[in-house]
Symmetry: C2
Subunit: 438 residues, 2 copies
């Protein structure tokens, strides 16, 4: 791209909304991206990068020299800076941190020390922090002096700490409107406020904000020292990400989010790492068919129904997986309740298995004319539906209980087992009834 | 349950967090639920019901007489009241609305007029609304008088309207701290503030809050009249729901969310309505096998590889679906970009298809000893991977463009077509090369 067209492109980008910019950006080459990022005002570049997920944002930042990268990053909220820098290779991260103002770099270092999905990784570290001896007038004065800065901070509460930095009270900002200005914070603050630990995981935080209407909650370390403020939005943002990730994983995008702007070899490798596990799992089901090859050869009509049994059982099982995943995320079942979940699935499976088995039996008889073929595939689908919903319901609990990610492993485990069982049932029953079928 | 044990249960529930209550609740019978809901303080019952999704909340509310239901609903935010009441049968809804205070009922009626996923359905209608002639002192006085009420409202901005109720300005609450009390709102307000229409859909609202750091935005009708306030959390809450729903739908829970506390016939019927469409789609793939029955009979080893081809292609296609769904939701591809998406998928499919085809060819030769069998299944899997990723990538765009829900229909459409193509490729190639295979 020549200089003139880049100039025009920058102007064009300036006139677009962030979402439109992101759309255009995802259709550009790396070189052009870098040129435009350098040309955009730092604040706009920061908005644009903020539209992408962390790994994509990190890729874009790596297109720039550390000086330019730092200028852009500075315009982002500290927690987003930390997310992006945390995704960079250590050397690049360090180079950029060197270019950031000391205070900013220190704040980022503090946040990158925590994983993204605990309170410490989601909190903001800039906040209004006062001593309890201060009067309301003094506080208003101080806020007034830094008004511009504080507006950026999106301040909702003032926090009161003791000499050791331990949190002792909280004051909603608007309350400052309603009290006499000579009063001391210690008298009007809410004492012993609720707080969360820096190490509190996403689930606990989501429950906190579901049970309480607060917009933010102070984050403290093990000694009760105030380390930051966690906003409700930050938790909801992580919840959206978690739900989206579960969806991607359940569909086989496992090694990290993929966008079609990424290099083809990276996309291919990530997808293959997952597919190659799956091809291996598939050999189990193939082995069952191989074992019954002779039966299949003498009743070739069975081959027509094997894929239906496999697909339908997988479908029934996936429904059970989805309900278990949902109930786990709502906290209304626990990973130990195998029996309860199994029984609830069993009852549904009994109805659905009978209906589906009956349907497929009718189809088989119409197709082949032999009623015994209908019995074999009907009974097999009915039984395999029961197996599929039982496994589908219970497997997510088991995986969760033993510390695996149920979104990733439930599907393949389920289809592997239901395929094997389904083929075994059809071909095993057919072998037993072989004289009636030929 | 006798009275004594219910009493004890109520006390026990009182001592639990909302999440724990929800857990216990989802393990109780309807009768017991109703008794406990009546016994709990209305505020606690409202918190508890708020923990469940709308349809479940509506079920719980229906367990109660309309008087008791109204008492509990009154404790919920207006927008949640509207969500729950909107899910009730019309007669029950009307009975409860009769029991609510007039103003409350009117507000609910206004909100239920909008779908859940547009600005009008997510906004709150209670807000601070002033005239531009008022002074800061008058405003602070008025807020002070209703301080308790306003704290519940979670007030962040004051809105300034003209005589016709049209929005003319906005004032962040904390700004009231920094200005002289004799000044008029008209002088200090932010003029021509940003707003959204009552009919703005979720996607537009999500983009708004992504591009702007505001905590809330005023909602106006076509004439610019202020109708309510939309909070950032409300939009994020709907985003979480949308992501979770996409996951559930992609796994075959289509007719509405399912919890295992629902009656077994309802759960069974909802799942079956989906499964029965699927069994019909499966007949297409079965027909392909039936057509090639003779080839299959003479080379029975092919039957061993059919399920692998089917499962692997489905897996590759699902990966492409997931990436397309993600890019659509991020707005970085548009529903018209078939060619671009197809080409990006084609390149990945070429690599992955070759690798997987090679793998399966090796397995086939090891299994059967005939190199031509390897060629047949290898080439078939390679070609079918290309087909699967092309369809998987493009189908969500097509469905979206023509107004269908891509989360629901992408998966089944994909597997139907890839199964048919996969079986056709394997058995067609085998028929052509029949002399070499037998």
């Amino acid at each position: 791209a020549n200089e003139g067209s880049v100039e025009e492109l920058s102007e064009l980008l300036d006139s677009m909304s962030v979402a439109e910019q992101a759309y255009v950006f995802s259709h550009m080459e790396d070189d052009a991206e870098a040129v435009v990022l350098r040309r955009l005002p730092a604040e706009d570049a920061a908005d644009l990068i903020g539209h992408f997920n962390e790994s994509e944002a990190a890729r874009m930042i790596q297109l720039l020299e550390s000086q330019a990268a730092a200028t852009i990053l500075q315009e982002m909220p500290i927690d987003e800076q930390a997310d992006v820098i945390g995704d960079l290779p250590e050397k690049e991260a360090e180079a950029i941190l060197q270019e950031l103002p000391q205070q900013n770099a220190d704040n980022v270092r503090e946040l990158t020390a925590y994983p993204d999905n605990v309170a410490g990784g989601m909190m903001v570290v800039e906040m209004l922090r006062f001593r309890s001896e201060m009067t309301v007038a003094e506080v208003i004065d101080e806020i007034n002096r830094g008004a511009e800065h504080y507006t950026d901070l999106d301040v909702r509460y003032a926090y009161v700490c003791d000499d050791e930095g331990r949190l002792v009270g909280v004051l909603p900002m608007q309350n400052l409107l309603f009290v006499k200005r000579y009063r001391k914070l210690g008298e009007i603050m809410i004492k012993d406020p609720l707080s969360v630990r820096t190490t509190a995981p996403l689930e606990e935080l989501a429950e906190f904000f579901e049970s309480h209407v607060y917009l933010g909650v102070p984050v403290v370390d093990d000694d009760g020292v105030l380390k930051g403020v966690l906003h409700r939005e930050a938790v909801q943002y992580e919840e959206v990400r978690a739900a989206e990730n579960d969806y991607l994983k359940s569909q086989g995008i496992v090694g990290g989010e993929e966008l079609r702007t990424m290099p083809v070899w990276l996309r291919s490798r990530r997808r293959l790492s997952w597919l190659s596990i799956n091809i291996f799992l598939n050999l189990g089901a193939a082995a069952v068919i191989a074992y019954f090859q002779e039966t299949l050869e003498s009743v070739i009509a069975l081959a027509v129904f094997l894929p239906i049994i496999s697909d339908m059982s997988g479908c029934s099982g996936n429904q059970a997986v989805a309900v278990s995943m949902r109930e786990l995320s709502l906290g209304i079942i626990r990973p130990t309740e195998f029996f309860r979940v199994w029984w609830k699935e069993f009852t549904v499976g009994l109805i659905n298995g009978s209906v589906l088995g009956g349907l497929i039996a009718v189809v088989a008889v119409l197709f082949d004319g032999n009623p015994y073929l209908g019995v074999v595939v009907g009974v097999a689908l009915c039984l395999n539906t029961l197996i599929a919903v039982s496994i589908g319901g219970v497997v997510p609990l088991l995986l969760k209980r033993f510390g695996f990610d149920p979104a990733v492993a439930s599907g393949p485990l389920l289809t592997t087992v239901t395929d094997m069982c389904g083929f075994f049932l059809v071909l095993g029953l057919a072998t037993v009834m072989l004289s009636r079928l030929t």
